[in-house]
Amino acid sequence: MSVDTATVKKVASLARIAISDDGAERMVPELNNILGWIEQLGEVDTSSAEPMTAVIPNHLRLRDDVVTDGGVRDSVLANAPANEHGFFGVPKVIE
């Protein structure tokens, strides 16, 4: 499978990365080079294998359903590019 400029732009849009026409064009051969190389995985017979879900066999732990954290609003907001009245500030999203 290979990508064209339109696909690169679509992927960039899905990834929320602004890209210029030139930038998208430049990326086409780069991505195709990499995708062409990873294509070789298709030749592996994986009929005997399940997709790996845990690197080291390990059971998922449950913890007591109690509050262990909180009351740190100012810390949470400390690195925000914009905050107002104890909230994150973002451009208007309601028309």
Partner: protein, 494 residues
């Protein structure tokens, strides 16, 4: 006495304990050396006050007759992927420039609890994506090593933990933290003539470590020798309830357990690691390593890991896929950079912020990851890669039926010059051919210096072990270290 900055972790710890020198004198010596080593660009932020404060505490404790902590008086470098409270943490990316965490990562906290002090935050490949330290927003890290051909081409310190490797090799710090997703501790260690171990996945908590590919990311120490790595790893490892994949196992006394006698051990030599175009010197080093293993009492066995050649392509699906998901959090809302063009709405702000904040390699991997996870391609790419990963892990499990450890070269070449591979992402990826398979299987693996090539550059040998057998890996590393007699160091030019 040798210069204080020539001492390793064990020597500093013991010297402070027995009063041969004060911890403050050690911290001061390293702080001075860090300040004089700026040409290497190994540090993004220097934190001399942190190092000196920890040293003062060590000296105070000793004067008061208290039992000293395991790393009392030892100043270290911290890869800038670990969140450090009150100290800028960037992952070497513009998108996190100016980010000052309100909390401390588990690994760094454990090191401070053990008495270590911090000399500064070490440069790295941006979001740990790279094998040469050329993707940092804060500039390339330069290796202290130079080829003996009289040229002075700036060489790559390896990556992604290139600030760590360069700083240790240049004696700017006796040890440092690294993180390893596909070889990011072992390859830079090999390039700079130092030691580094990636423990079993889950040994070190990922909490507070900036995520790249969560099923692969694992912290580990880098230092000048195997013993120092063991001491550091003991302080860094341990169960952490805040990391869902943290292993609930006690931390063994790795330093005390060190034993270079390999009698009764079977060391496997995987035949698939003989790759085309591998320099003859790497092959020769590998043969010397085999002889050293025999000399240490080990039995050598030939083993096969048939899916080895598929590890890299599987990795370059799985790691970017996880990265595209992990890095979705950088949106210009909660922390880090915000780029808000005039009149932009929220979606445009996300896109502009990420375009301005991420470097080219990071964007490339996010795009690959987004593509392989997108509707219609998910099964062909991501599911297939996850199945291949199962087969790679199975290869290792089968190998463990006939051996206890594996011995391979760490990297297919010595350090290359900066700029030599950066134009071709694929050529760069191939540098991790020997380190990626064990990462995919979550196995402990270590690089130790084995010798120099004809150009006078260090080459590393890799030992891979069974899950949780860090001790076996360290012991084999020690056996190599004792026989390699690696004492070469980079001549100071900076």
């Amino acid at each position: 006495m040798a210069e204080l900055t020539d001492l390793g972790v064990r020597e500093i710890r013991d010297g402070v304990r027995d009063g041969s020198f004060s911890a403050v004198s050690v911290a001061d010596a390293f702080v001075t050396r860090v300040a004089a080593g700026k040409a290497l660009n190994a540090f993004i932020v220097e934190t001399p006050d942190h190092a000196v404060a920890a040293a003062r505490e060590a000296d105070r404790a000793r004067a008061a007759g208290e039992t000293l902590k395991p790393l009392a008086g030892v100043p270290i470098g911290m890869k800038d992927l670990f969140c450090t409270k009150g100290v800028q943490t960037t992952a070497a990316s513009h998108i996190l420039e100016g980010f000052v965490p309100e909390y401390e990562s588990t690994v760094s906290q454990k090191l401070w609890d053990a008495g270590a002090g911090m000399l500064g935050k070490l440069n790295l490949d941006q979001f740990a994506m790279g094998s040469s330290n050329e993707t940092s927003y804060f500039g390339n890290v330069i290796s202290p090593w130079r080829r003996s051909d009289g040229g002075n081409a700036a060489l790559a310190p390896g990556g992604s933990s290139g600030g760590s490797s360069s700083a240790i090799a240049a004696r700017l710090c006796p040890a440092a933290t690294g993180t390893d997703t596909g070889g990011s501790i072992r390859q830079p260690a090999a390039f700079t003539g130092i030691a580094g171990i990636k423990p079993t996945y889950g040994r070190c908590s990922r909490w507070g470590t900036i995520a790249f590919a969560s099923s692969l990311d694992q912290a580990g120490p880098m230092a000048r020798d195997v013993t120092d790595c063991a001491i550091m790893l003991e302080a860094m490892a341990g169960f952490d309830a805040r990391d869902a994949t943290s292993l609930q196992h006690d931390v063994p006394a790795w330093e005390r357990g060190l034993n270079a006698n390999l009698a009764g051990k079977r060391v496997g030599i995987p035949r698939e690691y003989r790759v085309d175009g591998m320099p003859e010197e790497i092959e020769a080093l590998w043969h010397r390593g085999i002889e050293w293993m025999k000399d240490a009492g080990a039995e050598i066995v030939d083993v096969s890991l048939p899916h080895t050649k598929y590890a890299l392509p599987a990795y370059y699906i799985i790691a970017p896929a996880e990265a595209s998901s992990n890095l979705a959090r950088y949106d210009g809302v909660r922390y880090g950079l915000r780029d808000l063009p005039d009149g932009a709405n929220l979606q445009a702000m996300y896109a502009a912020t990420r375009a301005a904040g991420f470097g080219d390699e990071v964007k490339r991997r996010i795009m690959i990851g987004t593509y392989v996870l997108s509707a219609g391609f998910y099964d062909a790419y991501f599911t297939q890669a996850s199945k291949v990963r199962t087969l790679i892990a199975r290869d290792f499990e089968q190998a463990w039926e006939s051996c206890d450890l594996l011995l391979t070269p760490t990297a297919p070449s010595a350090a290359f010059a900066l700029g030599e591979k950066s134009a071709d992402p694929l050529a760069m990826y191939l540098n991790d051919v020997f380190t990626v398979p064990s990462s995919l299987a979550g196995l402990p693996a270590m690089s130790v210096p084995g010798g120099l090539d004809r150009a006078g550059l260090p080459l590393g040998l890799q030992v891979i072990g069974k899950p949780l057998d860090e001790q076996g890996v360290l012991n084999a590393g020690l056996a190599i270290e004792q026989r390699a007699g690696f004492i070469a160091r980079a001549e100071q030019w900076w």
